[in-house]
């Protein structure tokens, strides 16, 4: 049912916001070229969110959550931005950024798997820690991006997101890892008895989130052109809302990458639309109720539907 509702909601959002987004309706040619620019903008702005939503879907499937993604993206971008563009970027910034990304993600996984800290508390803690490290790396500076600009424009960003989400998503959908993760999210004790190395898998999932944060940092840094310590604040909630709206349960055991993709487009179109009508602050208010609505639909409405079907 959700696969029908989400595209419908997206179409309604587009119909509401298109007139305020610079698309002209006076001729077919003007409309098609305006629509093309608008959609390419939406895809480019969605690219980092799409990449992160892939990771967040997998994290939520394990009954976890990662609130530190925004801080991770900023810290990785901050580390990479201390290098010059060109050869130094490819030879030093990229390997170091990737290494930092894996370390940050694995640290989250370690806290959750080995110390048994609830994921939301652990990653809220690392959100503060990583934001603090952003201040250490960037101080009050605004560092320029060393990333080739093409990675943040159309079609570079779109291709990167498409490659990661489609190839990664297709592999994940058919892999044994997915089934293990769903079992872990549904019933961790059963997963342990089934011989799944639960702790190792959790660390791997959060490390993967770190790697995806690295790719998202590349896209977003190339697009924005600079980074400071407060960059990408609030990114985590946008991703969680998108993923939950897409049908992934926050208490684990169920998730859909296609739903998450649609959720990301819903959030991006809403955000761009609110900017278009000069009410950008409303996104702060709308994200919370959207998250509550998504969780409520995923738990209560789905349970009611299942009860009706079984009856």
């Amino acid at each position: 049912m959700r696969t029908l509702i989400l595209p419908l909601l997206l179409a309604i959002e587009l119909a509401v916001f298109l007139p305020y987004s610079g698309v002209r309706f006076d001729s077919w040619q003007a409309f098609s070229s305006g629509l093309g620019y608008y959609l390419s903008d939406i895809v480019v702005l969605s690219a980092p969110l799409l990449i992160l939503a892939l990771g967040m879907t997998i994290v939520l499937m394990t009954a976890g959550i990662d609130l530190s993604v925004g801080a991770m993206v900023t810290l990785i971008a901050g580390v990479m931005s201390s290098f010059e563009p060109g050869a130094e970027f490819w030879l030093k910034a990229v390997p170091l950024g990737l290494l930092v990304a894996i370390a940050l993600g694995s640290f989250n996984g370690f806290l959750i798997a080995r110390l048994d800290i609830p994921p939301i508390i652990a990653t809220l803690g690392t959100l503060i820690l990583y934001r603090g490290l952003c201040s250490v790396v960037l101080a009050d500076r605004e560092n320029l991006s060393p990333v080739p600009a093409g990675m943040g424009e159309f079609p570079g960003a779109a291709l990167m997101a498409l490659a990661l989400v489609s190839l990664g998503g297709a592999y994940f959908a058919r892999s044994r890892l997915r089934r293990e993760i769903l079992l872990m999210g549904g019933n961790r004790i059963a997963a342990r008895y089934a011989g799944i190395p639960v702790h190792r898998r959790i660390v791997q999932v959060y490390a993967l989130m770190g790697v995806l944060a690295f790719f998202a940092a590349l896209c977003a840094l190339a697009h924005d052109g600079s980074v400071n310590a407060g960059w990408q604040e609030g990114l985590e909630l946008k991703i969680i809302v998108a993923v939950v709206l897409g049908g992934t349960r926050v208490d684990g055991g169920r998730g859909s990458i296609i739903g998450s993709i649609l959720g990301v487009f819903l959030v991006t179109v809403l955000e761009v639309g609110l900017i278009g009508i000069h009410h950008s602050d409303w996104i702060l208010i709308l994200l919370g109720p959207l998250l509550v609505l998504g969780v409520w639909l995923n738990t209560h409405v789905n349970a009611a539907l299942r009860a009706v079907r079984s009856a």
């Binding site: 603090g132 919370g288 509550v292």
Partner: protein, 328 residues
Amino acid sequence: MTDPFRRLSPSLKQRVGFLIFGNLALMGYIWFCTQRTADSSFTDELSRFGPNVAPELLAGLGLTGIIAAGAIDLSIGGIIVVAGSVFGILYEREISPALCFAACALTACALSALNGYAIRLLKIPAIIFTLAGLTFYRGVGLLLAKWVDPSFPGHYSLQKAAYHAPGKEYGGVIMYAALAVAILWEWHGKTPRTWLALGSSAEACRLKGMRTGRTLQSAFLTSGAFLGLAALTKITNQLTIEPSRLARGFELDVIGGVVLGGTNIFGGEGSYIGTALGVFFLYWVGQALIYAGISEYWRDAIQGAVIIAVIGFDCAIHRKRKLMEELR
């Protein structure tokens, strides 16, 4: 007179002992540092202590009950932003200080109670509902200010001294009075014990006939009363109210203090005295970092690391019990 600490578990008693020692050690270090420099005195440091630590402690007292009952409130920072906006709006309209204070405290209290009611009604995990509230309330505070005054410059500047009384002059008094009331209530009252029971086993409470939804709601309502005082002391202790930046990271500082004070993050265990000592400890760690000459850029990272270490330590020592419960 019965032993007031009789209800504390041995691990909680150990934690209280550790925190008393830790607080004294940090205060000793700061005293030592102030003796070496001419431009600071330990008496000044102590006089600033009450007003500076009051918001975190008051919010911590409220959160202790919620966490002990097995829930959490991540939206306390956002609620303080709404209370701050309400205070700023009334201040700009030159409403009397007493009405501003009352409106600020009641706003925070009402929103916290609303959280409890909505969680009970929608049957959504408190952690998710209040995570959503984290940005929602911040957005409400910001938009409220802009809606009332379309030319809102982004902050309210509080210049009149009369509007600073609860935070700057009476912050310490309010804090100690609230702490005394909370501790007496914990020793002699029944409600805090029902929160502990709910946090220990919601299922057992249901079987006993306890109305668990109502009990959890009472924890949120009580938290609201403390949060109202926290909002009041925080807002009136500063010269500007900036809704977009006010109380950022406040929730984690408070959770860190509560957990450090021995309240089990999974519920079922906790005490007000422990929370007070935990919040004081984190405050003195922050002050000690300043006296140690640590760069301001490093302070957030170090405090974040301390909080993670504290929560990690707490979870690690409760891990064995949790595993046993899972196997059972």
